[in-house]
Symmetry: C2
Subunit: 235 residues, 2 copies
DNA sequence: ATAGTCAAGATTTTCGAAACCACAGCGGCC
DNA sequence: GGCCGCTGTGGTTTCGAAAATCTTGACTAT
């Protein structure tokens, strides 16, 4: 369209190239919401989004529909879209639900996991621990690569669970929780050894101790709530 | 647009009027998938959908995006959309996940429910039992009103649960299961007293017996699997 | 002053056509 | 004969603008 027509499509996020403009819009808006470019509760205006994404209204609209389904964006008919607000109540509910559901998935994975499952956990834990959590340039922001690896670690823990439906829901909840994780960095004051928390989960999982693994996972997830909930609106 | 401009918008499904063409397209396509107008695995062509919905491509596309997010429809880039196939494996996974998740929601509701919760269960159970399950005209099809009331009964059971996230997921899973329920009628041969199954759940819930209620719910959900799974592709 | 009405501007929603892609059928080349 | 590339066809995806809708603010009547 303008200049080199194709070269603006294959932008990647998390290693996955965008296949269509709709995909790309989804990635861009998602990223914009995560980084706070669009604040929680802020209205999303089409003109701005079109400029940001460099495309027409149709793919933007498709992306928004997806984001609504994922719970990152809300809509009211004929009154546009807005970034879903964050709140203490939502976070607490989210964390409790994740602990319950992902805890079950973890137990199941411990039951079924083979050597390959174990190996993937060890490898993803290792590469995760090799990276600092905060971005060196701006320590209030999360390092993109760290987040990718963190995600991979948690995915690997439950990968051996045999319920695709459960895994899919876990992924969706993890996405919703990402936003809280992002901003929690700005508020964490006390010392927190995230690496140790991860190692504890992995150790219990490989030792095939379901109760212990579940506990470690719960502790890990509850840490974020602890730091964050006092700073969030009660709702 | 044509004749009386407004009158073609407020079509209702389940008592909820469509607010936009996108909503209406979603309702129409959903209904078409449930009733088998579009069979499992069948490709969804835009021309046909536009004719069926009586509108242009944009709202149809929006509806499809929503249906994909709900798992009723699948898509492959540049190769269109297709109705998500039904399979034995998917059904079994779905049912197990529902039993686990909805079982927990039920326990929680039993813990928290007040008089209003009890009253709603009794009332929705009553109106449900007053209606035949099969459509009188074509006994292989499910009565629309019955399905609405059935849904309301199950919703009322867990309504007192205090986790919006969990309730939302339960609703989504219930929607996915609807398709299996619809076709199960055509295969059910042996006698099955659905009303008794419902009554058993309600009784245990009102008696505040979590384990018993959970069991009754599990039994109820497993019945459908029992009748259906031999007729479904293994996958 | 207050509520109700209306017009203008801003924004979302929908349309119809253009651009684009996958696939099948055909013809040339090794 | 088999393989490769071209091209036409049937479909999806994206565009740019028109239509519908909401918001705002001024104006009028009570």
């Amino acid at each position: 369209m303008f200049g080199s027509a194709k070269s603006d499509i294959p932008k990647k996020v998390g290693g996955v190239p965008a296949k269509s403009r709709g995909d790309k819009a989804w990635q861009i808006l998602r990223e914009a919401i995560f980084t706070g470019r669009f604040a929680p509760g802020a209205p999303l205006r089409f003109q701005e989004m079109q400029t940001l994404c460099g495309m027409s209204v149709s793919p933007v609209r498709e992306a928004l529909t997806r984001l609504v389904a994922e719970g990152l964006v809300e809509t009211e008919h004929n009154r546009g879209y807005r970034v879903t607000p964050l709140s203490r109540g939502d976070l607490e509910d989210l964390v409790r639900t994740r602990i319950r559901l992902e805890g079950w998935a973890l137990e199941r994975a411990i039951e079924l996991g083979d050597e390959r499952w174990e190996a993937r956990i060890m490898s993803s834990l290792h590469v995760l621990s090799r990276l600092p959590r905060r971005r060196s340039a701006d320590p209030r922001l999360m390092d993109e690569e760290w987040e990718r690896r963190h995600n991979d670690f948690h995915t690997s823990l439950i990968a051996a669970c045999d319920s695709p439906t459960t895994l899919q829901i876990c992924r969706a909840l993890s996405d919703r929780a990402d936003r809280y994780r992002q901003i929690s960095l700005a508020f964490e004051t006390g010392p927190r050894d995230v690496d140790a928390e991860h190692a504890a989960i992995a150790e219990a999982a490989l030792a095939r101790d379901p109760a212990k693994a579940r506990n470690a996972l719960a502790t890990h997830y509850e840490q974020t709530t602890r730091y964050l909930s006092t700073y969030l609106a009660a709702d």
